[in-house]
Symmetry: C2
Subunit: 581 residues, 2 copies
């Protein structure tokens, strides 16, 4: 099915009749609350990506508008998000030095490339590619990324220049600089962390006890991060902390997002090539994260998520980010929860968020000058809880040692080498593991359960067998990874049984036979023929049989295809020896 | 099971009592015939690899001895083989210029690396890695390689310098040089091809009609390639063709293989890194080829092939090749057929072949001076039949369009770009295709067949369903590639059915649930819980259930696990509504 125009732009569906059911006031309320959260987050995540703070504001305007027009989820909050920022820093940091004009241009290009790849994958319905990221690999990667984010923020919190591209470099740097930490910076940062933690934990309940109505208490609690920032700005300015060495955001240019097509296209081709793999990994990660967030909320609302539409929408949003001065964007779980809790009813909530944030960008950026970086670092660190999931390692270890190995490998390489290598190694490990598992399927020699037409494993049941018939049941699809195993097994079973005349493969559990397995069956057929043994098949499923009709296996087969395994054994037991076959 | 010393060296098993049953005379006869074939082939395949002819002789001595001590197949002929030579040329040609000392050293290093990788894979029982090469990809690659071999030999046959690293370069070069071809070279080459073809087709029958005994006729027919070479050498020397511009082998140093450890270790680390991927691909290819040849003959003889031992043996043989001046070696189908037909009974046949060839290397190399390169090219071209399998494309197209796409892509990239890229792209295509297929498993909504306890697809059968119960049967293992699909499907089925209270997953066809799928089931369980629907499982297989016991799914599951699907539906139909769950 080719997607139609309303499939590409679901806004064409929900915009008709918008506002008649009170959607506008619901969406506006939710948008206002999410904007309070988005202002500090967008500034912080821009710094996390190694970019000027204003980049975060730009990434929170046009991308949100685009997502609102093309997305299907009313509560999915698109925009800056921690993981993408640290990945962007790692990827772009490998091709340009942080802070340079090249670095900014390459960051925009990366966002545009992520967008282009997501759009392409969405248009070609290639969402399955995201399946390459298995859950253990993803959680190993995300937890390691969380630790890397901590490492990246500690310099801002301690007031010393540390380098933290990986664990080894970081620990060495921390050791050297431990004596040089800046007490004022550390004090401001820790105070902000404490305030954020206390606000999250106690503020709402305290306000309710003070007699505030529930709605008001909730709004104040949600605005707490912004309030803490306002207080920090006020104190810094009033007490002249910047002059005492406290690092601040500095001047943030006001106004609407610039058009940065020129910057994106000005990047050297070698940079483009170097960013391709990171862009692909970020695109996969963004999609996986987005769909899991969208599905979690859709389930609560009994709504349907259209994966392809979501992929296209986030692709267009990233393209918009790259072309209007923003870094790569994704879905934010915390802000989506706020939209859901705030009662958002259509994607217009995102559109309204962008409008509110645009107002801030137009009129309030001068106020951000004295915002301490340590406070933004505190904001990032306090939001990391959802990324660090050490319990997942224990759960995976208990459930599957092999999956744990892939998880630990991903975690180790991400932390010890870099983010792109970590995720790449993880994907390769998942695939190798899966091929390894499928390469040795369960194959049972079966025999007849007396008095029935059932055939069961000879090792587990008392069954009847015939010396000149070998019955094998294969409990797996036949495909390239396990053809050799099947050949080996048949070969081994036939060796040393000179009385054997018939091999019957019971195909109950075989859902597909690919071309490699077909060749393999032809080979087994020929090998058995050379050894004077006939090959038969039984209980072949309809679709598998349809496909086999299009090959020459059925003509070349020395034996027959039987409807049931019992029919096969009954027929072959009566006419035992046919050496000529 | 850890392999024992006799597992590593099967010679310890068959050497005891060797010769008492007439093995020596049988093995010696087979070895003599195979040596007649090996002399021209070893010289030709060395030239194919861009190396001096003597390299082929070195690759035919110690490697054969090592394989004889460690291999399990009495008839597998190890040594120089066409595919490995052209791959070696392609890989080493990318890091050093053909003919230089660096090129020779890198070729030896490549052989040693292939050997090291095979030994490692054999010791770690990682033969499954070869499963990554699916049959269509392999045949697409082999056919393209065959064409590249033709391209590489045409210059020797036409007497003009052509460059043929890929199709584009070759055609361009052919166009430019067409006028410059050397008639004498072409004449000698075509005459040799004609003679080889005629000898293969008619010689044996003609000799029998002339009254020769069958054994003698057979031996003469097998020695024909060597006889043609002897005649060509005689004519070239007698008529002074070398002086008229016919390229010849030139001086071949005599004596036993040198010890070339120094050359191998003298190669730059960057070269080692560049050769790693080609070495891995050659190792995989060598193993796949070797096992399919070994199994074909083992089946005829009702013998067992030990894949791990074979891998170790060929690994050690390649290591030996690299350390004694030889290029990468593999199994030869044509020479294995000669060993089998000649009556070889133990791996000693390979040992004896090496001894006979050593005699040639010691005493007869001066005779090779006037051997025309055009005749060796003819030898190679006439042996290509088994590599070019165009019929395979038609068969694959008929059987599976997706597999054909992977095959055609591999063929195209191998021919149009290079051998290493072709095989790499093929492996990636196979994997992607498999993940794509598994990412959308067959999932059926099932209902009760009236009057039975069977449940069948509601779309294909007249069945009974309940509005508040959804029964889903998943016809595939649950793993990372298809978890999203399952989530989407459950999500879609639940949307718009407010009366739904229970979802039952029938797990008859689920052989494994990996960690990703476990997380996914936990997510589905939570999503359904949020929507007021209980999740149940039925007919979970024993091993799958054992593993689930080690997770927290069974505690968190809102519903129950039922032995049979019918029990589930019967129980849930009676107690319909449990909104609180």
């Amino acid at each position: 099915m080719k997607p139609t125009l309303p499939d590409w732009f679901p806004v064409l569906r929900w915009a008709r009749g918008y506002g008649r059911g009170g959607e506008l006031s619901a969406d506006l309320t939710a948008a206002a609350v999410v904007t309070l959260l988005l202002i500090p987050q967008s500034l912080a995540y821009a710094l996390l990506a190694g970019l000027p703070a204003v980049t975060g504001l730009y990434a929170s305007m046009l991308p949100l508008v685009v997502y609102a027009l093309m997305g299907t989820s009313p509560v999915l909050a698109a925009g800056p998000a921690a993981l993408r920022s640290i990945m962007s820093l790692a990827a772009v940091g490998a091709v340009a030095s942080v802070g340079s004009a090249d670095f900014i241009a390459a960051s925009l290009l990366l966002a545009a490339m992520v967008g282009g790849l997501l759009l392409l994958m969405g248009a070609l319905r290639m969402g399955f590619i995201a399946g390459f990221l298995s859950a253990p690999v993803l959680s190993g990667f995300v937890t390691a990324s969380g630790l890397l984010i901590v490492m990246s923020q500690l310099p801002h919190l301690l007031g010393v220049p540390l380098r933290g591209s990986n664990l080894g470099v970081f620990v060495q740097s921390l050791w050297q600089q431990a004596g040089a930490l800046h007490p004022l910076t550390l004090g401001v940062g820790l105070a902000a962390m404490l305030a954020l933690w206390a606000a999250k934990r106690w503020l709402q309940a305290a306000l309710l006890r003070l007699g505030l109505p529930p709605g008001g208490a909730d709004l104040v609690a949600k605005a707490a991060p912004l309030l803490i920032i306002v207080i920090a700005i006020g104190l810094t300015q009033a007490l002249g902390w910047h002059g005492q060495g406290l690092a601040v955001v500095g001047s943030v240019p006001g106004g609407l997002p610039p058009f940065t097509l020129g910057a994106v296209f000005g990047v050297a081709p070698a940079t483009l090539q170097a960013l391709l793999l990171p862009a692909l990994l970020i695109a996969m990660l963004t999609f996986v994260e987005q769909i899991s967030i969208a599905q979690a909320f859709a389930a609560k609302r009994r709504e349907r998520v259209d994966s392809d539409a979501e992929m296209r929408a986030m692709g267009a949003a990233n393209l918009a980010a790259g072309l209007t001065g923003g870094h790569a964007v994704g879905a934010s779980f915390s802000r989506s929860a706020v939209l859901h809790g705030g009662g958002a009813r259509t994607p217009a909530a995102g559109l309204l968020t962008a409008l509110l944030l645009g107002t801030v960008a137009l009129f309030f950026t001068p106020w951000l000058y004295h915002l301490p970086l340590a406070v933004l670092a505190a904001t990032i660190l306090m939001a990391l809880g959802s990324l660090l999931d050490f319990g997942s390692f224990a759960r995976t270890w208990r459930y599957s040692r092999a999956d744990f190995a892939a998880q630990a490998l991903t975690f180790g390489v991400t932390l010890g080498v870099d983010l792109v290598s970590g995720l790449t190694v993880g994907v390769i490990a998942s695939l190798t593991l899966y091929i390894w598992r499928s390469s040795r399927p369960h194959i049972a020699v079966v025999g007849n359960v007396p008095g029935t037409e059932h055939y069961r494993n000879v090792l587990r049941h008392e069954v009847i067998t015939h010396p000149h018939i070998l019955s094998l049941r294969v409990d797996e699809n036949l495909f390239f990874a396990n053809t050799r195993f099947l050949e080996d097994r048949v070969n081994a079973e036939v060796t040393g049984r000179p009385e054997l005349r018939h091999v019957v493969l019971q195909c109950t559990a075989v859902n597909t036979i690919d071309t490699s397995a077909l060749e393999s069956l032809l080979g087994i057929n020929q090998h058995l023929k050379d050894a004077g043994v006939q090959l038969h098949l039984s209980e072949v499923k309809g679709p598998v049989m349809d496909r086999l009709q299009r090959s020459d296996l059925l003509q070349k087969l020395t034996g027959q295809v039987f409807m049931t395994h019992h029919q096969a054994v009954a027929a072959l037991a009566e006419a035992p020896a046919d050496r000529s076959a």
